[in-house]
Symmetry: C2
Subunit: 333 residues, 2 copies
């Protein structure tokens, strides 16, 4: 959806603008001249007549700007491949780049600094850059130039977890005991769960987690429900999708690293566990899964769709009710 691509003021202070004066006041003379070959920065010259009519003189000044490309929102994405390694050189080029970008009316500046160029981080901070997000190998820094509310897009805000409800034809549920779990959960037989991987689908993530933890092969049927919780890790939020899966194998082979034990547990024995029975959320989730098996509940099935707007094949999850039977369109067995 367009909404997913829309810029957002989240996580963005106006530090960039408050730094303008400092940047504008930087004496141009302080900038050392370097060639683009050596440091991979675009150089260009312009010429103007500094005479006042009495003392005519013509001189040249060279301005340097960091290599990069314009984004569709009037910003600049700096090319991380062509960043100078020398911190002094970087400092002066970054300063002159900011004054050039400001004069050109640029808005958001994106500066991606790989781990091996971490020495440039303090320089960027001193010029008024802030952190935007980071992955293992890099930190992305941003600078908002305009004197108006920052419109840079938001950093990722959520982790996505999946849980698999897998029941065989003997009414036994696939359950595990986790190795690394909170003290209050020790001994609990629970559904296999985990985080989805980068760019992984919810339905494939659920199937993968079940396979990894228990060795059981499954087919995804539906998302039964999802839970939204906040301040789970690093003040981030958490979306957890309970998926109904159909088993296509029977032999359990647990992953010793993550899982303490795994087994097929009679449904009634599973729900009678005090920790499940006494917990509003777990009880509700299991009730829905049981209702789904009995076709008294419809979850969301996944449908691959392409939108013209981004030409992206994405997954649309929605409810398909069979209007003849008023039951779910996909049967469990």
């Amino acid at each position: 959806m367009a909404g997913s691509l829309k810029v957002s003021p989240l996580l963005c202070s106006h530090k960039g603008t408050s730094q303008e004066a400092a940047c504008l006041s930087n004496p141009q003379g302080a900038i050392t001249l370097v060639g683009k070959e050596k440091y991979g920065v675009e150089t260009y010259s312009y010429r103007f007549d500094g005479s006042n009519g009495r003392n005519p003189s013509i001189f040249f000044r060279e301005k340097r700007v960091l290599d990069g490309f314009d984004d569709e929102y009037g910003g600049v994405v700096v090319n991380p491949e062509k960043l100078p390694f020398n911190t002094n050189v970087f400092a002066s080029i970054l300063r002159s780049s900011l004054s050039i970008w400001r004069r050109e009316g640029k808005k958001g500046i994106w500066l991606k600094l790989p781990l091996e160029k971490c020495d440039l981080v303090p320089i960027a901070v001193r010029e008024g850059f802030q952190y935007h997000h980071a992955e293992a190998g890099y930190v992305m820094m941003t600078y908002w130039i305009p004197n108006e509310p920052c419109m840079l897009p938001a950093n990722a805000s959520h982790q996505v977890g999946v849980g698999g409800f897998v029941m065989n034809d003997r009414n036994e549920v696939l359950v595990v005991q986790e190795k690394h779990c909170a003290p209050e959960l020790v001994g609990l037989w629970k559904l296999p769960t985990g985080f989805i991987l980068e760019s992984e689908e919810i339905f494939t993530g659920a199937v993968r987690e079940v396979k990894e933890e228990t060795g059981i092969d499954t087919e995804f049927l539906e998302v039964i429900a999802f839970r939204h919780a906040h301040n789970v890790a690093f003040e981030k939020s958490d979306l957890f999708f309970i998926c109904m899966l159909r088993p296509v194998s029977t032999e359990i082979k647990i992953d010793d690293l993550e899982v303490q034990a795994g087994k097929w547990m009679p449904l009634m024995e599973f729900v009678e566990q005090p920790l499940i029975k006494g917990d509003n959320m777990f009880k509700k989730i299991i009730d829905m899964c049981i209702a789904r098996v009995g076709k008294r509940y419809c979850g969301l099935s996944v449908h691959k769709v392409v939108s013209k707007f981004d030409n992206r094949l994405s997954s649309l999850y929605y409810n398909v009710v069979d209007h003849q039977t008023h039951g779910c369109s996909t049967s469990y067995t």
Copy 2:
């Protein structure tokens, strides 16, 4: 769910372990001694007899470790308040801390470096730390000590967007034209959309976005469907929830910063827009919204639940079907 709290190997290379040799080989003598008052680092001494029986001698050695606390996974969370500002001091204390933590069998080390302590980033990288995530004011760095696969939890992987389908009793849909949008979307009358804010609920985010963009007050009814797309921004994924809202005010007042125009548009006129009509995804979404208004579709309503395991009040979204009417439990009007 416990799954949401489970540690995950996502985004974690074994760089930490590959750096072990380097860290272990650091000569202890290289560490300068500092008092805790001055740099806010915990200091302690131990004493041992270095004699071989022939040349008895007793000497002292001082070891320093960064202030912090143990996490529940056998790791250490360094206290950002007590980090030394001096880079040389930090380098030596970090090195000695790592060798102490290693000897103590610690696992993951969490080092949060605020913007004002950005000078410490290159030092941490040289000691083998990687970036984990970052927000405007800080970067979180990690180091995995054990010689086994890294089990540090994942960084946030998703952005969450919401869109509001709002129809009045004259069968008019609340639509907007966006100011900042992709060229192919110019002129399209679309549903109000946006990102949810940090720790914001999906249902409140949808109501807020509609209010901000159009000035219309609404009540949340249901999540109709959601879309999962990948590599949307910074290689992150995107979850977009289409929400059905009931309007409780009529007068439109658009937000000039984000929105070009807004109006109540006859439903048929809205769906007949070539950009909607010709797009599989948009068409399907609108069809579901219309079906929901006619009670031929059930979305997911929100229910507040507390789980004993984290004592957190969270939102559980699921389908409630009225078994008398086989219709949705919540009526639109």
